[in-house]
């Protein structure tokens, strides 16, 4: 008359999957925090040039200007490299107004620290870039970052 029953055969208990949702949620939150939504869809080809002496970009104070050839979806705009800001093509003359608009939308304390990130396709001619820079000087947004891919040294 023992208190402890002797089971006939001891079956292995099934592995509990109750904590699986927790693990997956943890991963989910990690990715939600560590990543950003793809914002503007590119209408141009954008293969960045490479460089090894790079600095990190401070995302909160940066506004992006894209330039390059219109990609296959936007062939009707021709072969000449164009400037894209947010979701539209703009002309060189509009760069100043667009950047000032972006600056006005920024946080008060970051307005003076605005950085313009230039994501320019590597086959673009440098004349377009210097036109953009001239416009940026007119807008008095003098900090520029040429966004590049990181090349191994």
């Amino acid at each position: 008359m023992s208190k402890f029953k002797k089971g006939g055969k001891s079956e292995l208990p099934a592995i509990s999957t109750a904590s699986l949702p927790d693990i997956v949620f943890m991963l989910l939150f990690f990715f939600m925090v560590a990543t950003v939504m793809r914002d503007s869809s590119l209408m141009i080809e954008n293969r960045l040039p490479g460089a090894d002496q790079v600095e990190k970009l401070k995302k909160d104070r940066t506004t992006f200007i894209y330039a390059g050839k219109p990609n296959s979806q936007y062939k009707q705009f021709g072969e000449e490299p164009r400037i894209q800001f947010n979701d539209a093509f703009i002309s060189v003359e509009d760069v100043q107004a667009s950047v000032l608009q972006a600056q006005a939308d920024m946080n008060e304390e970051l307005k003076s620290k605005i950085v313009v990130g230039l994501k320019v396709d590597k086959d673009t001619h440098a004349g377009l870039v210097s036109d953009i820079k001239q416009e940026l000087r007119k807008a008095n947004t003098l900090k520029v970052m040429y966004i590049t891919n990181t090349k191994a040294e």
């Binding site: 999957t17 939600m32 790079v54 600095e55 870039v129 970052m145 040429y146």
Partner: protein
């Protein structure tokens, strides 16, 4: 009839829902990875002041033509040699700066025909409108690399004792500043400023000719 306990909600599908969300976020988002070369543009200057006369020997001219060929100090040069040539120019220290002090940390040849002092040494860059952007960035990168090399050397000389385990002292200092961006470390900032002052980045870009 006795009141029955409400049946427990089946949470078995919770994992599936969470996976679905996870995959959605994986697909629609990107991990931050933008890096680049930071540069300050000169402000527009309308004043009629005569620009100061810069001696030819303190000027290092880099031209890129429409065929992406480099002309450095009136000689054709390959991109791979540009870094070394720039370092030699900046580090020459043949004379004195505006205060009359000579460059006691320069390790260059001290040739009288090259730059007087890193304070005075100016790199002047000009490109054609048809130059490719890739080449332009390559050249910018080499020029920045020359400055970084010299700053790294000085940082190692001055502050190696604070970073005994680091190979690249200047890089380590910048990384530390980046890491502590929310608390001001006066001492560190001062050190970085000191290094930057030894080799101030003086890069002027001429506008390409309109043709």
């Amino acid at each position: 009839m006795a009141k029955r306990a409400a049946p427990e909600v089946n949470a078995g599908s919770m994992a599936d829902i969470a996976f679905l969300l996870l995959i959605f976020f994986l697909v629609t988002t990107t991990i931050e990875k933008d890096k680049g070369l930071l540069r300050s543009l000169p402000p527009i200057d309308d004043s009629e002041v005569e620009p100061p006369i810069i001696k030819q020997k303190n000027l290092f001219t880099v031209l890129i033509n429409r065929r992406n060929q480099l002309l450095v100090e009136d000689e054709q040069m390959e991109l791979k040699d540009l870094r070394q040539a720039t370092i030699e120019f900046l580090d020459n220290g043949g004379g004195t700066n505006a205060e009359g002090a000579s460059c006691d940390y320069c390790q260059g040849k001290r040739s009288p025909s090259s730059s007087d002092h890193p304070d005075k040494a100016i790199i002047s860059m000009k490109h054609d409108r048809e130059t490719s952007y890739e080449k332009y960035i390559d050249v910018q990168n080499e020029l920045v690399a020359a400055y970084n090399f010299l700053r790294e050397r000085e940082a190692t000389r001055l502050y190696k004792r604070y970073y005994p385990n680091e190979d690249k002292v200047y890089a380590a200092m910048l990384a530390e500043k980046e890491k502590n961006q929310f608390k001001k470390d006066e001492e560190l900032n001062e050190r970085i400023e000191t290094i930057k002052k030894l080799y101030p980045l003086k890069l002027s870009e001429a506008e390409p000719d309109k043709n």
